[in-house]
């Protein structure tokens, strides 16, 4: 009896990532990246943000094409709803960051994924942003992420994938920990 092993392929090049980790540990300056987004007001609460260039590995880079995000407020906020709300874009960033992490960790651990879906909910009391109650914060009070993962692995291994992806996620870190933000004008 022979058994054919199909190589695990989640489409993530973990060898390249591990190689980069090795090289960058010896060259800390090259590990410094700067990500850039440019936002233009269009009208009302509608704005468009474009990402294109960024820097890292000691040089400038460009995405294969500029990517644009439309942001607006919904009609129940008396806006035109021409895009996602900025908090929704944050939820999208969190979900996609964790999902990318799940795929990468699964590849590294030789776990074949069949499907991964995530539902992210952020709970917010809008009295904060409306300035109606100084005791209510503007942002999310609670964020919940629910993953449904179909993979060739035990439930414990799948739980460990999700836990490890949180541990290595940039957006999870930024959402769960304070970040210094400097805003300048002119």
């Amino acid at each position: 009896m022979t058994e054919t092993t199909i190589p695990v392929d989640n489409g993530v090049n973990t060898d390249a990532l591990l190689g980069a980790r090795e090289q960058l540990s010896g060259a800390p300056e090259a590990a410094e990246f700067t990500w850039v987004a440019n936002c233009s007001w269009v009208n009302g609460t509608f704005s468009q943000t474009t990402v294109d260039g960024f820097s890292g590995l000691g040089q400038e880079h460009r995405h294969r094409a500029p990517y644009t995000f439309d942001a607006d407020h919904p009609e129940c906020f008396a806006s035109e709803d021409r895009g996602a709300t900025p908090p929704e874009i944050l939820l999208a960033a969190l979900a996609s960051c964790l999902t990318a992490g799940v795929a990468s960790v699964a590849q590294h651990r030789q776990i074949q994924l069949r499907s991964v879906t995530a539902t992210v909910e952020g709970k917010m009391n809008v009295l904060g942003i409306l300035g109606a109650d100084p005791d209510v914060r503007n942002g999310f009070n609670d964020v919940t992420v629910h993953f449904d993962i179909d993979a060739e692995a035990s439930p414990e291994d799948i739980q460990a994938l999700v836990a490890q992806s949180q541990k290595r996620s940039a957006v999870f870190d930024m959402v769960t920990n304070p970040t210094r933000v400097a805003v300048e004008v002119g």
Binding site: E156, Q159, A163, Q166, F172, V175, T176, N177, P178
Partner: protein, 418 residues
Amino acid sequence: MASPVLHVPVVIIGAGHAGLAVSARLAERSIEHVILERGEVANSWRSERRESLRLLTPNWQSRLPGMSYRGDDPDGYMAAPDVAEFITTYAAAISAPVRTHTTVTRVAVQDLRYVVQTDCGDWTCDGVVIASGASNVANVPAVASHVPASVEQVDALTYRSPSDLDDRAVLVVGASATGVQLADEISRSGRPVIIAVGEHVRLPRTYRGRDVFWWMDEVGVLDEAHDEIDDLVRARHVPSPQLIGTPEQRSIDLNALTDRGVEIVGRLVGISDGVAQFSGSLANVCTLADLKMNRLLQRFDEWAASEVVCSIDPPMRFAPTRVPDRARLDADFVADDIGTVVWATGYRPDYSWLDVPILDPKGRIRHVGGITEAPGLYVTGLNVLRRRRSSFIGGAVHDSDELGEHLVSYLVGTGAHA
């Protein structure tokens, strides 16, 4: 008049368990050497340890080359004075050539040899073994400078006992063995305690009726070598496991602290305007620790199923860590009446006297299993130096043998020792 410069083939820096073990190995091989010790033998165990401190490892695991534990409590855990006595007895038994009250002020390369300067005379030598310890300095994060002036701060090296603390609430930062032990004893003293928990290692004191270190020893975890460990940097710097050595062999995980009334919060990530901020990642670090513990228990169970092991209890699993539904994200030093911050945030070695370029950008000695890039210069007594067991006193048995052998080959090769 300057003192004469003495020459000796090998200088060992530090007369703790690791330096003495190397001394025994050099004596076995008839290599003349001297051990330079800033204080007394086992100095840090005499003067830099809190009152309640006990080893995490059971007594029977405390071994040095040619000496095993001979007391009447093999399953107990030595207190700091017991460790000092154990090491001092060893130094006498091997007639270790220790120069006490001799502080090394500089080690450098000079004319293809090493020069070791001290506060009472200089030495030249062909080999140097750094055994000055892994825990010379408390790692206190920069955020400490934002703690309000009305709040006392102590670290794991300066803390002695709860009775030294202010009566108000205490914020313990860090959930290593030290962090959970201090949270436990401070809570028992009646003070309200908040513990800030980042990544941590959860282990039960006993599993299936045996000490967790018995399992790690038998199953081979402690013998995993530095070149077999998947992520060595992480293994060397992971927080110490949440264990305590008590006669009743109790476990001291976060659930035990919660039962005592200790408040569990996320990692301390900032202090701003008198408010400490905690990470929202608490649930995940607890999940990671539970999963990791269960993988280890699974490994124990698989080993036990394939061996003939007498008198162990059936396999079981511990309750998952109970994470507060809405762990708070901040604490106000004034409103929450916090009088003390205890930094249980780890230690680091002090190499300020080392003038040989073998440190990495983080100030750690670059080495492979204790062998540095500088020929004839070795380091020992560090976490996971050559194998996981290296983190514990008993690890010095093998480490000293292998480093001693390497050092002798080096000396023979250079013609320093024919």
